[in-house]
């Protein structure tokens, strides 16, 4: 082959594509050097090309049945290897979890969305991951399989730092489970980028609200911020403030101010810390407004 240069700048690795979860866990657990699961590859392969990761073993998880589940019964079950396109086009997601559908359709291009997965969006652990805030705001739980068996954790507890998660050696993210949306609830996700598409969030906010049966007050809110801290973070003070409040321009603006206090952004090429703080206020207001409309059945 005439191509000893391009593509092959990646360090040599062994590739396995197990057909079941037990084999995948065993391969990852018994590897003596760095081993990484591969789903869509849109993050991992670029990182391998840049030598940011040089696994000796790559375990392709796309052939494992449990990681390809996409079903809506007693909540939404999304296997970790299901593509963003499949998620965004799945009718129950469009109807019951529109903020997740919208976020999955924001990530990169169609080419990327056809490969990239929600599981990978979590496991890559970028602070700017677009599909994470809506999933967390809907109250997602992550199912993890490892050498010691299975465990479930709240999705917001998954992240340790940029690119770092709680996954231990040999552990694989199996699925993301979203509870059935309660009555009178709604959610929205918005990010700010300077272009129309194909960019990484300068800041992003996912908001979820559940209203009282008479829809006059907010019973519960979850607000999740992206790209303004080392991990996605919940704005818990803002959430606590909104519980029991009627949602109007004043309380929504106050929630935006409180949400910005949960942000600890850096200044980088995409935006300054001060700018990101302002973005959190604006995006929190807008997503709460949209979530409120959806909770009242006024918006699709």
């Amino acid at each position: 082959m005439s191509k000893e240069k391009e593509g092959l700048s990646v360090d040599a690795f062994e590739y396995a594509a197990p057909q079941n979860l037990q084999d995948a866990v065993a391969l990852l657990a018994e590897a003596s050097d760095e081993a990484r699961p591969l789903a869509g590859g849109t993050d991992l392969i670029t990182q391998m090309k840049e030598n940011r990761h040089s696994p000796a073993l790559v375990v392709d998880v796309k052939k494992i049945p449990e990681l390809n589940v996409l079903s809506y019964e007693a909540g939404l079950h999304i296997g970790a290897a299901v593509s963003c396109t499949q998620i965004a086009e799945f009718e129950p997601v469009r109807v019951h979890y529109p903020a997740l559908a919208e976020a999955c359709a924001l990530i990169g291009s169609y080419q990327i969305q056809n490969r990239a997965t929600l599981g990978g969006n979590f496991c890559n652990a970028a602070p700017s991951a677009d599909a994470v805030p809506p999933a967390v705001s809907y109250g997602a739980t992550l199912v993890i399989a490892g050498p010691g068996g299975r465990r479930e954790i709240p999705s917001e507890d998954f992240f340790v730092g940029p690119g770092q998660t709680v996954l231990e050696k040999g552990e694989v993210l199996v699925e993301i489970v979203l509870p059935p949306p309660p009555p009178h609830s709604g959610a929205a996700y918005l990010r700010f980028i300077p272009r129309e598409e194909m960019d990484i969030a300068v800041a992003g906010v996912g908001s979820f609200v559940q209203l009282s049966p008479d829809t006059r007050t907010c019973e519960q809110a979850r607000i999740v911020l992206a790209a303004v801290a080392p991990t996605p973070v919940r704005a818990k003070e803002a959430e606590a403030f909104l519980a029991g409040q009627s949602l109007d321009d004043t309380t929504i603006a106050q929630a935006g101010e409180l949400a910005s206090q949960a942000a600890s952004p850096i200044s980088d090429v995409r935006g300054s810390a001060a700018y990101r703080i302002e973005l959190v206020k604006v995006l929190t207001r807008r997503t709460l407004g949209k979530a409120l409309e959806r909770a009242k059945g006024e918006a699709s």
Partner: protein
């Protein structure tokens, strides 16, 4: 490390011995002789390597060849049917929707995929559908016009 894979490219079965590090793009170009898909950026931004993998457009530079074992792949070489250009290809020629041509195979694949899922796209839908394809020559306008013309041509033949 090498692995033997089989895959169908434009309807024809192929076998190849590939390095695990090799991308699907490398295999298509340098082992199987399909030089239509191009390597621009190598990281999923430019779309010059766009091919259809099992029915979905993907960046062939972000797929390891070993992942495509058993897959059906369509490159731009497989778009024309028996020597007759696809309406998208014809429209690109008629509208001058290319200059250097490096990005064109990727645009053709994205445009064809768009018209298959949405036969009558609006201009914003067209621009969104080609957001994963970069052209540094044309300014995109002629590409958008060509896709609109292809949409009309296809609806007249359908």
């Amino acid at each position: 490390m090498k692995q033997a894979i089989e895959l169908n490219v434009n309807g024809e079965p192929h076998a190849a011995l590939v390095d695990t590090r090799e991308t699907l793009l490398d295999t298509l170009r340098y082992k199987l002789g399909h030089m239509g898909p191009k390597e621009g950026c190598g990281n999923g931004n430019c779309g010059a390597c766009t091919v259809v993998l099992n029915g979905a457009v993907v960046n062939a530079c972000l797929v390891f060849a070993v992942e495509a074992a058993g897959a059906d792949v369509t490159t731009v070489e497989g778009v024309a049917a028996e020597g007759t250009l696809h309406p998208v290809q014809q429209a690109f020629i008629e509208h001058g929707a290319l200059q250097c041509g490096f990005c064109t195979p990727g645009f053709i694949m994205s445009a064809k995929a768009l018209l298959e899922r949405n036969p009558n796209p609006s201009e914003p839908e067209i621009r969104l559908a080609i957001s994963g394809n970069l052209c540094r020559c044309t300014g995109y306008d002629k590409i958008v016009r060509a896709i609109q013309a292809a949409s009309q041509a296809l609806s007249q033949t359908a």
